[in-house]
């Protein structure tokens, strides 16, 4: 009984608002991009399982990344992102990380990389070998999708996108978010955040904040 009383007074953390998304909800709410010049069987299997998957063969059309529409990006190493530079998949990964910090990055390769190329692995959140079985691939991708919806990850991405570095400001925003999540008031946080960072009617704010409040609407 005392524990539950103590809980009343304990300040909730962001992580405490993470809902255990049902698999059905996860499939409905998420969006994946597969950047590969080939068409692996995995893409077909993901679509057959109901996931929304965009297959980008070149990685040269960057608008969707700029608009931060993807929860997970599965990026091949060779033959993609050629317009960004000679390091191809690595250049693309760097670009996505910069413009869409909320997107979970999966390095998709079975290639053994040199020490300079291995930044491709370091920049990604996880490596998906091309010779993983379907069941293992699904488990890995779904794991990253769940992480893409975690409040701490989304909040960090929001701050990274708008370059909020001051610790005091970060703490203030986090506090405001926690209160808004507790009250299930997405609009209140949206207005507070837009005013705090000086950004108005930004599509990227809308997407990220709506993800933060997924499953908490009044």
């Amino acid at each position: 009984m005392f524990e539950s009383i103590k809980d009343w007074f304990r300040t909730p953390t962001l992580a405490s608002f993470d809902n255990a998304l049902s698999r059905e909800r996860l499939v409905q709410s998420s969006r994946i991009v597969f950047v590969d010049d080939e068409t692996p069987l995995l893409i077909k299997e993901l679509k057959a399982a109901g996931f929304s998957v965009d297959h980008d063969r070149t990685g040269n059309s960057l608008r969707n990344f700029d608009n931060q529409i993807y929860d997970v990006a599965i990026v091949d190493y060779h033959g993609v992102g050629t317009k960004l530079g000679t390091s191809q998949g690595l250049d693309l990964l760097r670009y996505i990380k910069r413009v869409s910090p909320r997107t979970r990055l999966i390095a998709y390769t079975s290639r053994s990389l040199t020490s300079t190329e291995s930044e491709f692995f370091r920049l990604s959140h996880v490596v998906l070998p091309k010779d993983f079985g379907l069941a293992d691939s699904f488990a890995l991708i779904e794991g990253e999708l769940r992480k893409a919806f975690e409040k701490v990850h989304l909040f960090d991405a929001l701050l990274a996108k708008f370059n909020v570095q001051d610790p005091t400001e970060r703490a203030r925003l986090q506090n405001a978010l926690v209160k808004a999540l507790a009250a299930r008031n997405e609009k209140r946080f949206r207005e507070y955040f837009s005013k705090a960072v000086g950004a108005v009617a930004e599509k990227s704010i809308d997407i990220m904040i709506s993800k933060l409040f997924l499953g908490t609407a009044k």
Partner: protein
Amino acid sequence: MINCGSLELRDGTEIPVCRFCLEGIGNKRQCQEHYKGLLTKPEGYYQCPFGLTTRTFRFAAELWAITGIIAFPRFDTPDERRMAKEHAELRVARKTIEAALSFFSELERLRADLIQDGTKVLPQAFHELRKLNGAVLQHAEREMRENHESSGLLSIKSAAELMRNNFDILEALSNIEGMRALPSDSTINLYDLAYKVKKVYQERAAVREMSITVSGVRAIVRGSQKSFPIVPAVLIENAIKYGTPGSNIQAEVSVQEGAAYLRVRNETDLYVDPARCFDRGARYAPAVEGGGFGLYLAREIVSAHRGAIDCVPHNHFVEFAVRLPLEKVVI
């Protein structure tokens, strides 16, 4: 021509091995010490204890020597003059020696170029093989899901997963630095991983009439989902290869004082040196196929995961214990 490390003699490029040197290398301590001593000296001309001239050079990362009576340089010693008189058949021109050295130098350059070319071509070939294996594995899985799970399909899936494990091991061995650079903050359930490895290797074990049991708790650690699975794969594969046929291999996951443990235990009559078994190339059963790299790699991977691995031999069985920082235990 003599290999200064192994003292192996070969007929020279211009002159055959002389009986004097052949006898000396086998019996005379001064000859053996002369060549061993050259290992720490720079390449050049040196006089042997009996008056012959030795010219050393490096080839394929080893030190070699050509020995004979070489007109220039002259060391002008009594032994040299005596040998020149008594063994005229060992005389060779300096020009001839330099031509031989030039030949070996060019061979070394070509060898380095081939290795360099190989580092570009082989990874691509490896990658294509892995993709092909991945296609086999995924199609077998789909067939099992859509039609029915037959023993044939299970065998194909198992073989493809075994192949993938071997590719992972070869890749990690060829690029240890790349392995260390892999992201290592994924969660790994040690029990589930051990169980999965058991499923992959149980057919192999069955060929030797061995069984694999997995027990313990669902301990969660942080690591690389790409590299860490190599560790239980190596331990269980070794247990199958070197264990007693017809016996049981036990994989157990436990927690103790903030650490997670994965222990693999098997019966064996082979002696394992617990201190040296993790050395690269260390082998204890020449009759069994193997390269002596599995445990070395396992130790490198465990170390990259901030853990430790130990070997504890007992009477008639051996245990390998992997210790890792514990994240949590799932009930």
